[in-house]
Structure formats: structure tokens, C-alpha cells
């Protein structure tokens, strides 16, 4: 008969719980310290670049030397908004650019809307299929609007459509974007600055993406910035500030920026083609492309730069419904995991320098292991509490510190925005956003973690769907 030494089991359990507790405390402290460091780096970068040129001064400084840009606009099922979006793009303030709209086999009248609005005719254009894409059915243009080229192709997804546009474009710089993104009139001129200042090394530039919900939109332009009325959208406004103004800017400062949003990013065309364009069969094609570029240049031992700029701004509509938002976030997480898996050789590989250690190390801890640690916490904390091995007083105290760090980061990102960019219109908006920066730590952050776990599950079970994004359409000005 086996004798059960209950005291020994209790002791072992306590030691195990203590180890877990110390691990959680250490990991939490490390993560928060890293994010505070990012906040400091972002503040330093914003302060360094404050007071940049605007309006005609911007044009005076950069227009003469700005290289031509091709805007790559994939469109699927955009019948209602595509014409206004393209009109808005065609009126951007930039010396030389073309707009390559790709109708990615839409089932609605997206193509017809374009053909009718711009009186386009079938044309031919010499091009080479370097980046893989589905069959191109036709090209359309008109002498009346020489900046516009419309590509009609079979459906293949966003990356496929971007590849088609990439093959057909001729400008040395390409700008990837979404058909429903709204670029500020001077966004291209601002974003091209690094390519003008460092033409030899600059490979990719990411711009800020901001939430357009609550803004006033006229003719495809944001004419008045506002705070969304929908609670979920307000929380996302803070989240975007933290992601772009803090995290991406800091990663850029650390020369380890791994993601440039598919909604607005500029790339030198030749290296993008050299790495085979966008990879098909992934939902994280934007991140994947940046990682491929890092690998390419580091393998070739060529100097290069990938940077993020906070000021060229692209506005986008965010989901106002939990279901849609959850699907979007699970997909983003799946994209990060797919990229990590495809390029796992980069992790801690000295050949890839900071990208391998810092960038991929962060993905490993936060994106790959994070959801599992989170999940373990949800199971172990109640279990330990029930077993009586958890000191509830300390648990609450550490939770308070964790929430406090969350508040510092969210409110800190808003403070950076206000002290250096000052785009929100009034005091009321700032107060609402500051409150959102506090509130989002209680519930929203935890739901986000749940979506990440769901994304991990979808990744593990090989679910590849994009999910549907139900758009409300931009609020029109009265």
C-alpha cells in the first residue's frame, strides 16, 4: 500500500506555486520595463523630429527630388466606395504618382463602377510577372486620367492583388494600401522624406494608421478629426496610438521594425520584387514582406533601413462590433504566428542581428508563448486559490501594479500624441481618451488576450479564413 505524505505534497505544491509566481512577476516586470523603455524611445524620437515642415514648405523642400510613387490599391467588393476613394487618391499632393487599382475578382460591380466613373478603355501594357498572382483578365486606362491604371484579375486575395499591382507598376517606390484607407493630402510627400534623405539605404517606410470613426469626412478626406462615439472604437483609438506612436516608433528606433501596416507603407520596388513580392497563403502578408526584406539585406550584407514615421497619416475605419473585432484580432495574431513559423530560422540567429534577437525574441515571448502563459494563469490562479496556496493580498497588489503599468502606457501614448503632434481637436476629446486609457485595462485588454488565444487555436488547427469585416462606411459631413 502506498502511503500518501500529504505534507510533502502540500510543500511541493507550494514550491511549484511560488516558482510560477516568481516567473509571472519576473516576466511581467520585464515586459512592462521593456514597454516603458519603448515609451521613452518614442518620446525621444518624436521630440527630435518635432516641428517638421508643413504645407508649401514641405513641397518646397521635397517635391523637386521626390521619386515617382505607384499606389497599389487592391479592391474586393468595394462597389459603393471605390470611385470616391480613387478620386481622393488622384488628388493627392505629390509631384509624380500613379494609382494602380486592382479589382480582385469582385463579385459586385466594383470594376463597372470604375469603368463608368473614369470612362476607362481596355489597354495593353508591357510588364513582367515577377511576383506571383492570379490570371490578369484585363487592363483599363484613359488618356484623360493618365495617373490611373485599373487591373481586372481573378480573385486571389489581398497579397495576390498587391503582387499584380507590383508587377504592373513602374515607379521605383510603391505604396501599399487598402481601397478604403484615406490618405491625408500630403501623406505621400511626408512619407517619401526618408527615401529622399537616404536614397541608397532606405527600403521601406511605414506611416501611422489612425481611426477615422468619429471624424468628419468630405470627398474621401478627413476634414475634422473627432473621437468616435462608439465605446469600442474609442478604446481602439487608444490602442492604435499605443501601437503606432509608441511601439512601432520604438521598434524603428531600435532598427528592428518587423511590421509595416498593409494599410499604408512605402517600399522600394526592386527589393520587394527581389524577395518575390508578397507571399501568398498567409494572412500576415504585410509583416511577412518586411521580415523577408530584413533577411534579404542581412544575408546580402548590404546596408539598409526600415523606418516608421508618425506623421504621414492614413485613416481607416475600425470595427464597432465585438464579433468583427475579435475575428480581426484573431487573424492578426494568426498572421504573426505564420510569419514566425515561416521565418523561425531568424530567431536568435546572429546572422540577423537585432532583428533575430530583439524582434523575433519579442514575438516568441509575447505572441507565441504569451497566450499559453496567459491561459495557464487563468487556470492556475483559481486552482491555487482553491487549494489555499495563493496569497490573495499579494495577488491583488501585483494585479494593481500590472494595471498601473497598463494605464501608464495607454495614457503615456496619448500624452506623446498631445505633447508632440496635437491632432485631437479639443480638451473634451483628450479627457474622453484619457478615461478610455484607464478603462481599457479593465476588460478590453483581457478580451484581447482571449482573441489572441483564439488566433493561436486557429493557427494550430490550420484555419485560413479571413473572416468578414462589416463596414459601416465613413461618416459623411452634414
Amino acid at each position: 500500500m502506498i502511503e500518501v505524505d500529504l505534507q510533502a505534497i502540500a510543500h511541493a505544491l507550494t514550491r511549484f506555486a511560488e516558482s510560477i509566481a516568481w516567473f509571472v512577476i519576473a516576466a511581467g516586470l520585464f515586459q512592462n520595463a521593456f514597454h516603458i523603455w519603448q515609451l521613452v524611445l518614442a518620446a525621444r524620437a518624436l521630440r527630435r523630429d518635432r516641428g517638421g515642415p508643413q504645407g508649401r514648405l514641405l513641397w518646397r523642400r521635397y517635391a523637386e527630388t521626390a521619386p515617382p510613387i505607384a499606389l497599389l490599391v487592391p479592391a474586393y467588393g468595394e462597389e459603393l466606395t471605390i470611385v470616391e476613394s480613387v478620386r481622393s487618391l488622384l488628388s493627392l499632393q505629390y509631384p509624380a504618382f500613379e494609382v494602380v487599382v486592382v479589382n480582385d475578382g469582385s463579385k459586385d460591380r466594383t470594376l463597372d463602377a470604375l469603368l463608368e466613373a473614369f470612362e476607362l478603355q481596355p489597354v495593353d501594357r508591357d510588364y513582367e510577372l515577377i511576383a506571383p498572382c492570379a490570371r490578369i483578365r484585363g487592363l483599363y486606362a484613359t488618356a484623360r486620367q493618365p495617373k490611373l491604371l485599373v487591373v481586372d484579375k481573378e480573385n486571389g486575395g489581398k497579397a495576390d492583388a498587391l503582387n499584380a499591382a507590383l508587377n504592373l507598376s513602374r515607379a521605383p517606390i510603391v505604396c501599399s494600401m487598402d481601397a478604403d484607407s484615406l490618405l491625408e493630402p500630403d501623406a505621400l510627400l511626408r512619407a517619401v522624406r526618408p527615401f529622399v534623405e537616404d536614397p541608397e539605404r532606405m527600403v521601406a517606410v511605414g506611416g501611422s494608421v489612425r481611426i477615422a470613426n468619429g471624424c468628419e469626412i468630405r470627398f474621401g478626406r478627413v476634414t475634422r478629426i473627432g473621437v468616435p462615439r462608439n465605446f469600442l472604437a474609442v478604446l481602439q483609438t487608444i490602442e492604435y496610438l499605443r501601437a503606432f506612436l509608441m511601439a512601432r516608433l520604438a521598434w524603428s528606433e531600435l532598427q528592428s521594425l518587423l511590421i509595416i501596416s498593409g494599410a499604408f507603407g512605402l517600399f522600394r520596388r526592386e527589393p520587394v520584387l527581389a524577395v518575390g513580392g508578397y507571399s501568398l497563403g498567409t494572412v500576415g502578408e504585410d509583416m511577412e514582406l518586411v521580415v523577408k526584406l530584413h533577411k534579404h539585406f542581412r544575408r546580402e550584407k548590404k546596408p539598409y533601413r526600415v523606418v516608421f514615421l508618425p506623421e504621414p497619416v492614413c485613416w481607416t475605419e475600425c470595427p464597432e462590433d465585438l464579433g468583427v473585432l475579435g475575428r480581426q484580432r484573431a487573424r492578426w495574431h494568426r498572421g504573426a504566428l505564420e510569419t514566425f513559423e515561416r521565418h523561425r530560422d531568424v530567431l536568435f540567429n546572429p546572422r540577423y542581428g537585432r532583428v533575430g534577437v530583439l524582434g523575433f525574441g519579442y514575438i516568441l515571448i509575447v505572441d507565441v508563448l504569451g497566450p499559453f502563459i496567459e491561459l495557464a494563469g487563468y487556470v492556475l490562479v483559481p486552482a491555487f486559490y482553491l487549494l489555499g496556496v495563493l496569497n490573495a493580498a499579494y495577488l491583488w497588489a501585483f494585479l494593481a501594479v500590472s494595471f498601473a503599468f497598463g494605464v501608464v502606457l495607454s495614457v503615456g501614448a496619448l500624452a506623446l500624441e498631445e505633447s508632440e503632434l496635437r491632432r485631437f481637436p479639443d480638451v473634451k476629446s483628450l479627457v474622453v481618451l484619457m478615461l478610455a486609457g484607464i478603462v481599457e485595462n479593465f476588460g478590453y485588454r483581457q478580451i484581447n488576450n482571449f482573441w489572441r488565444v483564439r488566433g493561436t487555436w486557429q493557427y494550430l488547427t490550420k484555419q485560413h479564413s479571413w473572416g468578414t469585416m462589416t463596414r459601416r462606411g465613413f461618416t459623411k459631413a452634414a
Binding site: 516641428g51 537616404d198 501608464v408 484607464i438
Partner: protein
């Protein structure tokens, strides 16, 4: 203090600090809103004063008086204004500002204050020719961030000062200036005024590849025919980017003397050189190189095939005849490239 209390205090301190930071900024916003409105009003007043100066009004001095020490405001408004004013009107405005001592304000601002203000002041000084301005700009071109130094040289150039090719190229090779678009543009202006100096710099032994590439580009853009021998030599440089720049420059010059070197470049091992050579042959209408260009119609690189087909289209009857022959041939790749040009699809 017990550890538990310390942890709670840390949490409270973090939240209070963040909220205090943001609350402070919210209070500042109230002040800033007034300041923004005031700045916009000031700018409108300076613009009105500049229009007054252009019209020769007598109250200009009084209109400018409140803004005499506001260098950045003056500089930015002036740069905007001068962007749309030319000739006699421009001379009147600059004369009036000089009379009021605005150039002195700008000169003082060049060496102190925020970077955007310094940069705008340096740029605006380009409108004020004179020894004092030139002296300030020469000083500014030797200190501070690279963008200020480069802007100072550009303004010095605009103000009639001397900026020579050797100074720019030396600065580039010494790491003083980055090979930026602004640098290339200034080099182009300086080379245009003194192509002989640029040729001498290009021919100097030990010159770096980036410098030779930029000099070749600038000579081509300047239309310096005297540079053809130097560019011909660079078209055989060991570095492909230099060869490409030299061939592009020869293409811009469109001179028949470049025919032998272009003929060689059509068979270069680097595709960018071959592409540039095909383009240059087309632009210079060198019908004698029809065969060499036609051979590129089945080049493994699409860009070269595309340029070769387009070049043949520019080479008159000989080129068209060659395109028609290729379009009838059984070589699929070349046939496609030729057919598109014949159909008018570039």
C-alpha cells in the same frame, strides 16, 4: 514599510503620475489653443505686410515692427511667399525686409534655437544676397546637423556666394554630407555653372564610386558636352552603378560621339547598364546601333527587353523594320516585346 504596502504604493504612484502628466497637458492645451490662434493671426499679418511691401506702401515698417524678432515666423512666411512671387515684386519685398533688418534677425537665428527654426532661417537667407549673409551662411555650412549645413550651402549659392564642386564632393566623401536628394540637387546646380570643375573632379584619381556616380548624373543633367570623354571613361568603371550613371548621362547628352561606348555597354554584364545603354541609344537616335539593340530583345531581364523594344521604336525606319522582322519571328519572348511597341504600347 511592509512589502505589500510598497507594491500598492508603486501602483498608486504610477497611475497618479500618468494622470498628472496627461492632466498637465490638457491644461496646457487651453493655453496652446490661444497660442495657435495667435500664431495664425500673426502669420496673416506678416503676409499682409509682405503684400504691403510689394505694393510699396508706407506703413510697412509699422506692420513689421511686432514681428521683427520672430525669425522662424518671418522665415517660414517669407519662404511660402517667395515661392509664388517673382521678378520686380520679389525684389521689392526682399529690399523692404532688408531695410527693416529682417535679414539680421534671420542671421542671428541660424546659430541658435530649435532645428526647424534654424533650417527655415537658413533657407530664407538665400533671398538676401550680401557679404554679411554670405559670411553667416559659410559659417553655418561648417557646423550643426548635416541638413542645416547643406541648406546653408544651397542658400549661399542662391545668394550669389561661391560653392564649388570640390567642396561638395569633398564633403560627400568625408561623410559631412549624406548622398541625399537635396545633395544631388545642389550638386547639379553647381555643376551646371562650372562643368569643367566637375569634369576635373570626376577625373581625379582615387575618387569614390558614389561621388563619381553623382558627378556623372549631374554632368548629364547639366548638358555638359565637354564631359563626354570623362563620361566615356566612367562608362568602363569597375562599379556597375557608376557605369550606369555614366551611360545615363551620355544618353541625356544625346551626342553621336558616345556611339562606340554605348555599343560596348549594350553587351555589359550588368542588366542596369544594358538597360541604360538601350535607352540612351534610342534617345540619341543612333540608328547605327540597331542590331546591337535588337539583340537585347531576348535579354533574360524584362526591363532590358522593354527598353530595347522602346529604343528600336525611336530609331526610325531601320528600327521599325527590325521590330517588324522580330515580330514575325518564332522567338516568343522577343516577338512579344516587339509586337507591343509596334502596337504603340510602351
Amino acid at each position: 514599510m511592509p512589502l505589500l504596502d510598497v507594491i500598492w504604493w508603486i501602483a498608486a504612484l504610477l497611475v497618479v503620475s500618468a494622470l498628472a502628466w496627461m492632466s498637465g497637458l490638457i491644461l496646457l492645451r487651453v493655453v496652446h489653443a490661444r497660442r495657435t490662434t495667435r500664431r495664425a493671426a500673426d502669420r496673416r499679418q506678416v503676409e499682409a505686410a509682405l503684400i504691403g511691401a510689394m505694393q510699396g506702401r508706407s506703413d510697412v515698417e509699422a506692420a513689421f515692427a511686432p514681428f521683427r524678432g520672430r525669425a522662424r515666423l518671418l522665415a517660414e512666411t517669407l519662404l511660402d511667399f517667395l515661392g509664388i512671387v517673382r521678378g520686380e515684386d520679389r525684389r521689392l519685398v526682399v529690399g523692404a525686409l532688408e531695410h527693416l533688418g529682417a535679414d539680421r534677425t534671420l542671421r542671428e537665428r541660424v546659430f541658435s534655437g530649435s532645428l526647424p527654426g534654424r533650417l527655415a532661417s537658413v533657407e530664407a537667407l538665400g533671398a538676401f544676397p550680401g557679404p554679411e549673409t554670405q559670411f553667416a551662411l559659410i559659417r553655418a555650412s561648417t557646423r550643426g546637423p548635416a541638413e542645416v549645413r547643406l541648406a546653408a550651402l544651397r542658400s549661399l549659392w542662391q545668394a550669389g556666394g561661391e560653392v564649388d564642386v570640390a567642396r561638395l564632393v569633398g564633403g560627400l566623401e568625408g561623410g559631412e554630407f549624406p548622398p541625399s536628394g537635396a545633395f544631388s540637387e545642389l550638386l547639379r546646380l553647381v555643376v551646371e555653372a562650372d562643368p569643367a570643375a566637375a569634369v576635373a573632379a570626376l577625373e581625379q584619381l582615387g575618387r569614390s564610386a558614389p561621388a563619381r556616380g553623382l558627378l556623372a548624373q549631374a554632368l548629364g543633367a547639366a548638358g555638359a558636352y565637354g564631359a563626354i570623354p570623362a563620361l566615356t571613361a566612367q562608362a568602363q568603371a569597375p562599379e556597375a552603378p557608376v557605369r550606369t550613371a555614366a551611360i545615363e548621362a551620355l544618353g541625356r547628352l544625346q551626342h553621336p560621339a558616345a556611339q562606340p561606348v554605348l555599343a560596348r555597354a549594350l553587351g555589359d554584364s550588368d542588366w542596369q547598364v544594358r538597360s541604360a545603354a538601350a535607352d540612351a541609344v534610342g534617345d540619341a537616335r543612333l540608328a547605327g546601333l540597331v542590331e546591337g539593340v535588337a539583340n537585347l530583345l531576348d535579354d533574360p531581364v524584362w526591363r532590358v527587353r522593354h527598353q530595347a523594344a522602346a529604343a528600336l521604336g525611336k530609331l526610325g525606319p531601320a528600327g521599325t523594320a527590325r521590330l517588324e522582322a522580330v515580330a514575325r519571328s518564332d522567338h516568343e519572348v522577343a516577338r512579344h516585346a516587339a509586337a507591343l511597341v509596334l502596337a504603340g504600347v510602351a
